[in-house]
C-alpha cells in the first residue's frame, strides 16, 4: 500500500511524513520531496481518519446527527454543534430565546480560547519548546472544568441542540468564568514573554510560509490563516449570527502573511474573545434556555447553508432536505481542508524545520479535514 519510494535521478529525496509523526498532530500523511533539506514538492495524502461522517448523517435524524459533528473538529465542538443547530432551526424557522443565543456565544468563545490555548502549546512543542504546552494546559484545564460543570463533558460537549441548549447553565458558571478571565488576562502576557518575544522563535517564524492575499483567497483559506494575510473573512463580523451583532469586537487583521502574522492573529484573537465574554457575562438575559420544538423534527424540502466561524476558520454546513426526518445530503465545508490545500504553496523552498512551523500555524485538526 505504500508506494515504492526511491531517490530520483536528480538527487532528490522523497520522504514520508506521517501518518504517525509527531508534527502532523494526528494521522496526516505528507509526501515531501527534498533537495538537500529544502522542500521542492509536497503532496498531502488524507483519509487516515476519514470516518464517513457525511454518509453516516444521511441516516441519522436531525437531533442525532449533531453528535457526530462534535467529533469532527473536536477542539471547536461547540461551534460545530452551533452550525448544525442553526441550520435545523433555519429549516424549522424556530425563534431561539435570547438567553440561549447569548449562552451559545459565551460557550463558543470559551471554546475558541481553549482551542487557541491548545494550539499555542502544540505549536511551541513543534518548534521544540516543550514547556509552553504545560503552561497553556494549565489555563485550558480551567475552561475544561467550567465546561464540564455546565455541559457535562470535557471535550465533545453536545451542549447546543436544535431549539436552544441541552440544559441551563450551572449556577457557578458566571462566577467561574469571571474568575477565569481575571486569571487569564495576566497569563496572556506570560505567553508573550515566554514565546512571542523569544529571538529564536521570531527567527523561526518571520518570513516563513508567506501567503499573499490573492493566494489566500484563491486557496479558500479562512480563519486566522487568511486574516494573517490581511483578508477579511471573519464570519462573526461579515455575516453576524446568533448574538454576535450585539457585541463589539475587532476583526484581527495582520498584513505580514507569514507564520508570525498568523501567530499574532491567534494571540490577539484570544484577547478579543475575552472582551466578548466580558461584554456578555453580566448580561445573560433571563428566560427559557430552549424553544419549544417537536420531538421528531422534519425539515421542509429545500437546501440550507449555514456558515459559522470556528477556531480554525469558516465552517459551512450544506444541507439538502427532501422533507423527511433525515437529511438527504449533508456536506461539511471544513476550514482545515481548504487551509491544508495552501500548504504545498507555502512550504516550497523552505526547510523541513519550516514545514513543522508552518503546519503549526495552520493549526490543523486532522479529523476536521478528513471528516
Amino acid at each position: 500500500m505504500f508506494e515504492e519510494i526511491k531517490t530520483s535521478n536528480d538527487g532528490e529525496l522523497v520522504i514520508n511524513v506521517g501518518p504517525q509523526h509527531p508534527a502532523t498532530h494526528g494521522v496526516l500523511h505528507l509526501l515531501i520531496t527534498l533537495n538537500g533539506e529544502t522542500i521542492t514538492k509536497l503532496e498531502p495524502n488524507l483519509g487516515y481518519i476519514h470516518r464517513s461522517i457525511e454518509k453516516m448523517c444521511e441516516s441519522l435524524s436531525y437531533r442525532q446527527f449533531i453528535y457526530s459533528t462534535s467529533r469532527m473538529d473536536y477542539l471547536s465542538s461547540h461551534m460545530n454543534n452551533h452550525a448544525c443547530a442553526m441550520i435545523v432551526e433555519k429549516g424549522l424557522q424556530v425563534e431561539i430565546p435570547e438567553r440561549a443565543e447569548v449562552i451559545r456565544v459565551l460557550i463558543s468563545e470559551l471554546t475558541r480560547l481553549a482551542s487557541h490555548q491548545l494550539w499555542w502549546g502544540a505549536m511551541a512543542m513543534d518548534l521544540g519548546a516543550l514547556s509552553p504546552f504545560f503552561y497553556s494546559f494549565r489555563e485550558r484545564e480551567v475552561i475544561t472544568d467550567i465546561m464540564e460543570e455546565t455541559c457535562g463533558a470535557r471535550l465533545t460537549m453536545n451542549y447546543i441542540v436544535p431549539g436552544g441548549l441541552m440544559a441551563d447553565i450551572h449556577p457557578n458558571f458566571v462566577k467561574r468564568v469571571k474568575d477565569f478571565i481575571i486569571q487569564f488576562n495576566s497569563k496572556i502576557d506570560e505567553y508573550d514573554q515566554l514565546v512571542t518575544g523569544n529571538i529564536i522563535f521570531q527567527n523561526r517564524m518571520k518570513n516563513v510560509g508567506y501567503l499573499s492575499p490573492e493566494d489566500a483567497i484563491s486557496y479558500g483559506t479562512t480563519g486566522p490563516v487568511a486574516r494573517g494575510s490581511g483578508v477579511s473573512c471573519d464570519i462573526r463580523k461579515l455575516y453576524p449570527y446568533s448574538a454576535y451583532n450585539k457585541v463589539k469586537f475587532e476583526e484581527i487583521l495582520e498584513t505580514g502573511g507569514d507564520s508570525f502574522a498568523r501567530y499574532l492573529v491567534r494571540i490577539k484573537e484570544m484577547k478579543q474573545s475575552i472582551s466578548i465574554i466580558e461584554q456578555l457575562i453580566d448580561n445573560i438575559p433571563e428566560g427559557d434556555f430552549q424553544a419549544k420544538t417537536k420531538a421528531v423534527l422534519k425539515l421542509p424540502k429545500g437546501e440550507f447553508y449555514q456558515r459559522v466561524e470556528t477556531a480554525r476558520g469558516e465552517l459551512g454546513v450544506y444541507l439538502v432536505s427532501e422533507g423527511g426526518t433525515t437529511p438527504y445530503r449533508i456536506k461539511f465545508r471544513s476550514p482545515g481542508f481548504s487551509n491544508l490545500s495552501a500548504l504545498n504553496h507555502m512550504v516550497k523552498g523552505h526547510k523541513i524545520g519550516d514545514l513543522v512551523a508552518i503546519m503549526g500555524t495552520l493549526d490543523l485538526v486532522i479529523p476536521d479535514i478528513d471528516r
Binding site: D215, E303, Y318, V320
Partner: protein, 152 residues
Amino acid sequence: MGNEELIVKLQELFPAASIIQGNDWPEISFESGADFLSTIDVLKSDQTLAFDYLFCETCVDWKTHFTMVYHLDSTRFRHNIVLKYKLDRETPEIDSLSFVYRTSEQHEREIFDLFGIIFKGHPNLKRILLTEDWVGYPLRKDYDDPINMIKL
C-alpha cells in the same frame, strides 16, 4: 449588491440559465452541456460581480442525475450566489476549476473520490480520502458495502 439586484444582473448575463431566490442566496442553475468555464470566467472577472472566492464545492446525488453545487462569495462586495450544474448520471464529467480557484483542486479530488465525477483538466485526479484500490463511490445513493457497513 443585494440579492434582487444580483438576480437581475445574472439574468442579463445568462439568459439561458434558470435563476431563483434560494433560502439565503440566489441560485443559478445550468443544464448539462452548457459552457461551464466561460460562465465561471464571467462571474469571476465581471467588475460588478467579482466572485473571487469559492467557499464550498460539493455534489448531490439525485438518483437520476448529479448536481454540482458551487457556493461563490465576493471578497470585494460580499455577495454570494449558489451555482448549480446538472450532470448526466452515466457519464458525469465537468470542467475542472482548479486553475480558476486553487482550492477546488482538493475539493474536486474529494468529489471524485466520493462521487466518481470526472473533472476534465484536473492536474492530479486520484483518490484522496480512500485507498487507491477502493471499489465504488461511497456517497452515491446506490452505494452498498455489506462488509463494512452495518445498517441500523
